[in-house]
Structures are given as C-alpha cells and as structure tokens.
Symmetry: C2
Subunit: 430 residues, 2 copies
C-alpha cells in the first residue's frame, strides 16, 4: 500500500467522503492517484443510478440493473476503503464524524455528498401516505403499491372502490413525476391490459399535480408544453397551478376538490440531508449549504459540500440538483483537495450544463441541448442512448439494454415482482 | 367468455387452485381448453422458479430473473382468474376456502398446491437465527445476511469477531445446502476478493453440516462422494453425520463442539403447508397428505393435493419433492378433473423420473439420468442447459443467460445489492 506514498514518511492526509452517489463516487475516482487515504462511507452498499429509479419503481428494470456495489466499482483503487454505515453527525471542531454503530471517523479533508430526501412542505405525516422516490427501497415500495392496487381492484366487488384503487395521483411535475406518470399510464393501458378479468386497466386514471404554471419547469416553455401535450395524449390528467392541501388514506384534496384515490406518490419537494446542520454554515430553505466558489463550506476550507447538499450560484442562478451537477461538483472538490495537498492554489467551480433530457413515455422524449431542442422520437432515443452510456458497469448496460429491448418489443414489463411481502403476516395491501 | 362453454346453459364447474408454483401453474395450463372456470390463488403475485432461488440469494441473479408474474403467464388463458391472497383454511364440508381479507372462495374441484415451508425439527425458535430458502423474500434476507457479514467484518477491529463474521454455517446437505455452499465459497474467494481492505475474504469458512451419512442423499453414492470431493476442493468444510443441537446468535453447537458464527442458513427440513390440516385426511410426519393413486384426497374425490403437500408412493418409494414431481402431479390432477367433468374415468399417477441434477460450483455439476452418471464440467453444462430451458418466459431466459455469461467470464456478481434496509432506522445488521 505504498504505491502512492510520498517519499517521506509523513502520514497521508485522510479524506472522508460521505455518500456513494454521483458526487461521492466521482470525488473518490478523481483522487485515484492522489497521495491520500480515502474512506467512502455510505448507508447502503450500492451506488444508485437515480435517473432510472422510476423504471425500477414501475417494474421495467430490476433493482440490480440500476445499482452497482460501491466496493465493486472501487475495488482496484487501493487508496479507498469503503464502509457501510450511516453518518449521524459531524464534529467540525474535532474533525470527526459520528457513525451509527461504528467508531468515530477522523478526517483531514471531508466531502459531504449525502444527497437529499423528500420534503413534505411542513407535512411530515404525508410521507406514509405518499412515498417518494430516492432509494431502491423507495422504488420497491412504490412498485408494491402500484401493482397491489390493481390486485385489490380485481378482488373488489364495489365499483366505487375499484375506481378509487385504479386512480393514482402523482404530486410534483418535475422529471420524476412526469416520468412516473408517463410510464404508469403505459403499463396500465398496455402491459397489464390482458392480465385481469374483472377490471379494465385501460380505465386507469393517472393524475399529475403540479403547483407551478408548467410541468418540467427546468425546460424551455415550448418543450414543457410539448411534454404536457404528449402526456395528455397518453391519457394522463395533467393539472398545473394545483396545490395539494390534504392527503388522506383514501383521497387527495386540491383546495375544495376531493380526488378519491388509494395510491399517491410524492415527487414534489427535496430537502438536503440533515447532516448539513452539523456544519455550522448558512443553509438555504431546502437545507443546502451555501458553499464558496471552490465548493468548500464557509469557515471550513477542509470541508466540501456537493450535489444536492450544496447551493452553488453560477451567474446568479443555482446549479440544478441533477447528476451532472453532482458529478462535476465531486470532481472539482476532489481536485481542490489534491491541489491543497500538493500546495497548489484552489480553482473555482464552473458548471458546464450539457443539457437536459426527459422521457414522457414510449417514443416520446424532450431534450434541451444548450439551445438545440429535440422532442418526440428523437428526444426519446437520445435519452435512451445517454442513459445507457452513463450507467456504471458493463453488466448493467447489457442488462438494461436487454430489458428495454424486450419491453419495447412486447409491451410487457417482466419485473412485475412484488417483494417485501411480510412473511410474518402475509400483508399485501399498503 | 362463452368460448369453452358446453352447449347447454348449466354453470361451469368452479376449479380453485391454491398455489402458483410448478404444480398449480401446470394444473391451470393443463385445463386450458376444459369447460371449467378456474381461480388460481397465490399469496404472492409471482411464480417462482425455485431451483435457481439460491442464485438470487447469493447475488448472482436478480429476483425478477427467476420470477414471472402469474397473471402475465396466464393472461391469454381466459378461463383463469388470478387472485392474490392467502388461503387460511378449507371447509371441506361446505366446499369453501377462507382467504385472508377476501370473501370465501367456493369450489367444485380443488387442487391444493401450496408447497412446503421449512421445518426446524421442533425448534421454531431457530427460524429467526437460521433463515431458510423458499421465497424471494427469504432469498433477499439470505443475501442481506451473507453480504452484510463481510461489511461488519471489514468494520470490526476484533480478530475473533472478524473470524466469526466470516464463518457461515449451512445446515442440511441436500441440493439447496450444497448449491449454497458451492456458490458462497466461490463468491467469497473470487468475486469479493478485491473488494475489502481490512479482511481477506479468501479466509472465509463455509461449513456444511449434514445429519445423514452422505450429502445429496437422493443421488447414487458415487456421485454424492464426487460432489463432496469437489466441494472440499473448493474449500467448503463438509461434515456428515453431524447433528446440530443448538443455534445461538453467535454460534452453532454440534454436540459439545461450538462453531463461532454470526450467520447460519437452514436447508434441512421441510414441512407441508399447514393447509393440509384442514383436509381431515391422514398426514405423514412432514405434514403431507397421503393421497390416492389419482392424487385425490382420501374421502374427497373433488380435492387433489400435489407437489410438496402430497405423499405419493410409487413402487413403495415416495415421489421426491422436486419440480418435476409437482409439474407431473399438477398435470395429472388437472387431467383427472377434466375427465370427471367429461364423465370419463380417472387415471392413476405414474411418476416419470427424468433424472436428477445438482451444481457444486463453477464447472462442477453432477447428473443422474436414469442410470447414466455425469459429473464435472459436463454435469455442470447440462445443469445450465436444463435450467435455462425450463425457466418460464423468454425475458427470464435471456436475462439469466446474460447474467451467467457475465458472472462466468468476470467472476463478478453484479447483483450484490442489499435491499430491505429499513429506511426508518437504517439498520444494516441482522
């Protein structure tokens, strides 16, 4: 293990990275040849390719298609030790991280890249009724609720109950909400059509609620309008400027209107991991650290916050909380650590926006590539290509390609597996 | 839905099938053109290809590779309604089945094919300490414990604790125990070798305990001895005539000997689903119904028991509880229902044993094909071929072939995903 050691015997700086997502993983890889000892801490054992999570949640892909074991990805990089564990706090004065069930981890440099969770806008009680989509377990829970609703509808003898079971409300019209809505309507109307005897899954209602004036607000308005038109042609009810006021086990309220539904999904708000509170730095209202230009935390040049945990302003606008923001942030934070260790000056973050992609449903996608706008089939194929290229690992790429090809050709979704049955009580409903 | 109706308007006989495993699914398919209305009830939404379950438990395959949604498989067979629910009892006098959370299901003919669970030989308290392998949720639990043990060993600073975490005890030397042992030693020594920094996974101990004189007792002794030799060459400690007397959270006792281990898997005993108790018929000590030659339950010509729930004697020997026994039983029970409905005499069950296959590990398998014995590489390839052929669905076949090819070529196991983290408490240990 002396491969990268400096000539003298001084101990190598200890770099701790919290989080094995896009930001953390890229930070670790950028430090491949740096004379540092890295510990990467994640509460799971896998890197998750979040842009495809909605496909695992809707039974199009298997969970293992969009995850890669972090140890496996980094196994040849000998200056990294991977630990599975949950950081519960950071003592910035003592430069030590509290980890649940493990001894403290000390650091010389720290990169916090623990991402975000859902934010329920002051209604934490909504979480149980309207799960969001951030982790594999979230995806399996959404898949379970989505598929189980049809099972219960088939078993029901009450028409009103069946209608309510076959109504799905998705709250939030960003990429996650739009992609969920587009794929759910296709599954209901195509893949499941022949599966049931007592219900007609073509009658499924998918309601997409967005508080703002447009869905996909990060896109130019023309593309956003195109996306809405596509969704509506598929059969999704898109409603903008609609704020949810109440969620109940059998209904969602929009102002005075009650939508009877048994299944609600949350794709609306994000809040940075509460770890940011340990940093003693100013936070924005989503809990993100307002970092310096070099991505370090104000007052702590040895700590960097990146990805969904950081608010980075670029020409007055925040860098969006997307994969490329986290990747570039991870690379820059790592580069700045390398520079500090080598005694070189740090460089500021310059976000390069490669463009923005979203799928609406089969053969329909939109793309905004630095001013070049694509939609329809071309946007869709570009989306597929980019997502295959960015997936980690040959096995995942090959497997995702295979599943997509089969889904595309047969309209079937063969990962319609409901797991997480509780073997103790055989519970199948939510 | 009048396609298969008889000319008169008499109601069609109602056939209920409990269980969507090999027996139940084949029974439903055999009744494809029969003038009956079939309800197939299963507590899950999927058919499980149990012979490959150990590969899902060891991260070689994704759960969805070895499952097929029952509705999907039967979607074109219009005389079948699939219901997801758990049968809790059978009222044979009233010909009605109690289903948890649903109205009773009435039947004219009933096929019980609910399979078996583990039997802990009068020690139900061992179940929590030594999970068995029957369902997808079992497989994910075994995968979680197997992979988490290495995570905890990497985090431990106590050598004795590390040794105990890296010791895995498998109880039962039948096909499940042998296949788990063979694949676990390969994963520990090959796939995980480069993943850790503080432990050497090549030091992993896999102990296979069998109470009888030979592992794989269903095979001829020469093949069983060959299998043992192969396992030992891979590094598995095979111990026969060893009875477990106690299981504790950190040890397994074999007589007076204590084996320090934190992870124990159960592959020893089976007991038929407790549903057999509702039938009022004689049961053997494994809880199986001693059925008539036509597979009907004594005293109830309208009820059939098949697969792991039935004890069928053939030339004085019980038909083994394997996939082909269940498949042939399901087909014959269905054929006998078809005959009764058509006013034809029933036929007795004749089990045709096509042979017996097991894998020991990479490039090593054994096969007993009606007297023709194969072992080594030839047995292994035959095993692969047969399992691909018998998998249900093109998508599963293609996906399993792909995963196997990649695992074989790279020695990696890319499904090393630990799911079932409890998002509430972030618990990672068992």
């Amino acid at each position: 293990m002396t491969l990268h050691s400096p000539q003298n015997d001084a101990p190598r700086p200890r770099v701790v990275i919290i989080g094995g997502g896009f930001g953390g993983l890229n930070a670790a890889q950028t430090l491949r040849d740096a004379p540092v000892d890295i510990t990467l801490l994640d509460r799971t054992n896998h890197h998750l390719f979040q842009p495809l999570l909605y496909q695992a949640a809707t039974a199009t892909l298997a969970s293992s298609d969009i995850t890669a074991p972090i140890r496996g990805v980094l196994r040849r990089q000998k200056n990294v030790t991977v630990l599975m564990g949950e950081a519960t706090g950071i003592d910035v004065a003592r430069k030590a991280i509290q980890v649940k069930g493990l001894p403290e981890l000390e650091y010389d440099y720290l990169i916090v890249a623990a991402g975000a969770r859902h934010s329920y806008f002051g209604h934490p009680e909504w979480e149980a009724l309207a799960p969001g989509l951030k982790s594999i377990d979230d995806a399996l829970e959404i898949r379970r609720r989505f598929l189980t609703a049809f099972e219960l509808a088939e078993e029901s003898t009450d028409e009103e109950e069946q209608r309510s079971l076959m109504t799905f409300v998705i709250i939030g019209g960003g990429p996650t909400g739009v992609e969920l809505a587009g794929i759910m309507i296709e599954i209901a109307r195509q893949a499941l059509r022949e599966d049931f005897r007592r219900i007609d899954t073509a009658q499924t209602r998918i309601v997409l609620l967005e508080g703002g004036p447009h869905i996909l607000p990060a896109f130019p308005e023309a593309l956003s309008r195109k996306a809405r038109k596509d969704l509506e042609e598929f059969g999704v009810e898109v409603r903008t400027k609609e704020l949810v006021t109440r969620i109940e086990p059998d209904a969602v309220w929009v102002g005075e209107e009650r939508i009877a539904t048994r299944t609600v999904f949350w794709a609306a708000g994000n809040a940075a991991s509460p770890l940011t509170k340990s940093l003693g730095a100013p936070l924005d209202k989503a809990g993100r650290v307002e970092v310096n230009a070099d991505l370090s935390v104000p007052g702590h040049p040895e700590i960097f916050a990146i990805g969904d945990m950081a608010l980075v302003l670029q020409r007055g606008k925040p860098v969006p909380g997307v994969a490329q923001g986290a990747i570039q942030g991870g690379q820059l934070a790592a580069e700045n650590i390398r520079r500090s260790v080598a005694g070189q000056p740090r460089v500021p973050f310059r976000y390069f926006d490669k463009g923005n992609l979203a799928t609406i449903g089969r053969d329909h996608g939109i793309a905004d590539l630095r001013g070049l706008h694509l939609s329809g089939r071309l946007g869709w194929w570009l989306w597929l290509l980019v997502h295959i290229l960015f997936l980690i690992g040959f096995r995942n790429r090959a497997s995702v390609l295979l599943q997509w090809a089969i889904s595309y050709l047969t309209y079937q979704r063969s990962s319609r597996l409901i797991s997480h049955l509780d073997p103790k009580d055989g519970k199948i409903s939510s």
